[in-house]
């Protein structure tokens, strides 16, 4: 519920951006702040607490079959898909230079450049304008870091991971936000 509310508020902010003279960068930063906070809360207070600390329930990629919690990355993706279904015009996704699902590897030149940049300097977001499908986008990429043991253990042990030595605090990927430009 909290995620939905946050996204709805973010959408409202975006809808009024033109009149409020909010820049694309400010808007992307605001959206990311909401996403990062929700993602951190779910990872730390739900998955890491219940799976890794209390050991009362597991998080699983196949959470329906396994009667488990959705993985943090899935929670993020489901939110992104929910936004896409609303056809609000902007989009966000989680990508990585070391993706478990190879479809989440960087695809556009901006994604490649941005993911490499935030991997080197996680504190600094990456911004770029790019044209995809004849639409010009303001693309912002933010470092997605391992914030709990749950992130590290799951990624390092997954059979499809291309990297097995992630450590807490390291950049594992990036949040890519795209705002269509007028």
């Amino acid at each position: 519920m909290k995620t939905r509310l946050s996204i709805a508020l973010a959408g409202l902010c975006y809808a009024t951006a033109a009149t409020a003279q909010v820049t694309y960068k400010e808007m992307a930063d605001a959206l990311h702040a909401v996403m990062e906070s929700d993602r951190t809360v779910y990872t730390r207070l739900v998955v890491n607490r219940l799976q890794n600390e209390e050991k009362v329930i597991k998080a699983s990629e196949h959470f329906k079959d396994d009667k488990a919690l959705p993985l943090p990355a899935q929670m993020f993706r489901f939110g992104s898909e929910g936004v896409a279904e609303k056809k609000v015009g902007w989009s966000y996704s989680l990508q990585s230079l070391w993706p478990i699902n190879k479809q989440n590897a960087p695809k556009t030149a901006a994604e490649k450049e941005g993911l490499e940049a935030v991997a080197k300097d996680p504190a600094k977001a990456f911004y770029k304008e790019e044209t995809l499908g004849k639409v010009k986008y303001f693309t912002a990429i933010y470092a997605d870091r391992a914030i709990s043991p749950a992130c590290v253990s799951c990624h390092n042990e997954h059979k499809d991971t291309p990297k097995t030595d992630f450590k807490i605090g390291q950049t594992m990927g990036g949040v890519v936000i795209r705002l269509p430009m007028k």
Partner: protein, 460 residues
């Protein structure tokens, strides 16, 4: 003459009632741009069902989603819309606009329509997965036409085919250790419903003489016996429960289907979504075997399908509905072979009491299976019959988890459902071919285990 024909065709096209009008329906038939698929032929004259005036592609897409979106969501659609609206896939959309169902499923094109209503070249996976061999070297030798047709992957529904599920079932034998189909537990569910009208239907078996039909209504002893032996009487549903569903309404001898839906809403929704009820859902005259494309029994040609056509009024014998109800109409080879099948033998043993409940396999066991239904608003789940007979078909792999795997292993189920001849024989015999998807998973897992050294930095 030309004006008369033009007027007739125009009237047929513009008047919405034309679809079910014996005089105007031929006009719409003449205007069909081509033979419709088996999935839509029953409603092909209700043009408005899919085509909205000035709706364009978006209108058509909305029509597709109106009937199919919920099923796709429930199937954990592997290729949901959101995957394609992401701008990073814009280059792929230029090759294949997967945001629209009609990109792959064009109606009225019989010359190019393949199984599942696919009208696209069979190697369509290539557009996005051309480099699959980089990630899966074992796929390098495979043709892109085989991804979707060899029993390994489906575009939408991979619930029984995804890699980790296959990995879990590598050791399955042909038959499960305790083969048994799910049983219903309606009374237990009803007792948990907070707003169940127990004042009217007290969940207590009614005794002979308890019937509340008006004295003016004459019912035969046979009819009364039928009712008393049903779940209705055993659950406290009296005559008025159906014949006078609304307490203030007058008695009716033939309750409408809506009365059944009053208590059996989910089942009715399924019925209306499938081939038995889709005409009724479009407000057309009910489906009859005469209107079917599959071979049907001539004697049943005019039987109009509704709840009582299979369940019978008053008796509501689900066991009779589960086989006799089907075979009274269906006369294709698969149906006619049922009586000689091992599934039928098990069913007969269950009916005679030689084998326990859930051990027999009727037509309905597979085509109208008992499935888990979640009542999210109440936080409850229950088992009920999926009355959309198409839910487990197109592709038939959809049947694997809710049906086949109650008794059979995954590998055996995949092989059996890929064997058309075996299906025609109604599964009398063993699968003649083998789909190697489990073997491929087993080999991949072994290779990964051998190659990977934990903590080495990067998986080799």
């Amino acid at each position: 003459m030309t004006i008369a024909i033009g007027g007739y065709l125009t009237a047929g096209l513009l008047l919405q009632k034309s679809a079910d009008d014996p005089w105007l329906a031929p006009a719409r038939s003449m205007l069909l741009p081509g033979k419709t698929t088996h999935g839509h032929h029953q409603i092909e004259l209700v043009c408005e069902s899919c085509h909205k005036p000035f709706g364009g592609k978006e209108g058509l897409q909305a029509s597709c989603e109106r009937c199919h979106a919920a099923d796709l969501k429930a199937a954990n659609d592997t290729h949901p819309l959101a995957k394609f609206t992401d701008p990073r896939n814009a280059d792929r959309l230029e090759k294949l606009d997967a945001t629209l169902c009609v990109t792959c499923h064009v109606e009225h094109r019989p010359g190019i329509t393949q199984p599942m209503g696919l009208t696209l070249a069979g190697d369509f996976c290539f557009h996005c997965h051309a480099d699959i061999a980089k990630d899966r070297p074992s796929h390098a030798r495979l043709a892109f036409t085989s991804c979707n047709s060899a029993g390994c992957h489906k575009f939408h529904d991979n619930r029984a085919l995804y890699e980790d599920f296959l990995a879990k079932h590598l050791k399955d034998g042909p038959l499960a250790a305790t083969p048994k189909l799910v049983q219903r537990a309606l009374l237990e569910t009803l007792a948990q419903l907070p707003d169940y009208p127990s004042d009217r239907f007290p969940l207590k078996a009614l005794e002979p003489g308890a019937q509340d039909a008006p004295a003016t209504v004459k019912a035969s002893p046979g009819l009364m016996r039928d009712w008393l032996e049903t779940s209705h009487a055993r659950a406290g549903v009296n005559c008025s429960g159906c014949h006078q569903a609304d307490k203030s309404a007058a008695w009716t001898d033939r309750p409408a289907q809506a009365v059944c839906a009053g208590c059996h809403g989910v089942e009715t929704k399924g019925f209306l979504a499938g081939k038995h009820g889709m005409r009724s859902a479009e407000k057309l005259a009910p489906m009859t075997p005469a209107r079917a494309r599959l071979p049907m029994q001539a004697a049943a040609a005019k039987t109009e399908l509704g709840c009582t056509s299979c369940h019978g009024a008053h008796r509501f014998d689900t066991r009779k509905a589960a086989v006799e109800g089907c075979l009274a109409c269906h006369a294709d080879q698969h149906s006619l072979a049922y009586e000689r099948s091992p599934h039928s033998s098990l069913w007969k043993k269950e009916l005679s009491g030689e084998a326990p409940a859930g051990s027999g396999v009727s037509c309905a066991s597979c085509h109208l299976p008992r499935v888990e239904h979640r009542m999210e608003d109440l936080g409850l789940k229950r088992t009920l019959v999926q009355h959309n007979q198409n839910d487990g078909l197109q592709p038939n792999e959809k049947m694997i988890r809710p049906v086949c795997m109650s008794c059979h292993g995954l590998g055996f189920s995949i092989d059996a459902l890929a064997d058309r001849a075996l299906i025609t024989r109604n599964f009398a015999g063993k699968p003649g071919g083998h789909v190697d998807s489990l073997g491929m998973v087993e080999r991949r897992l072994r290779e990964l285990k051998e190659k990977r050294t934990p903590g080495s930095g990067v998986a080799k």
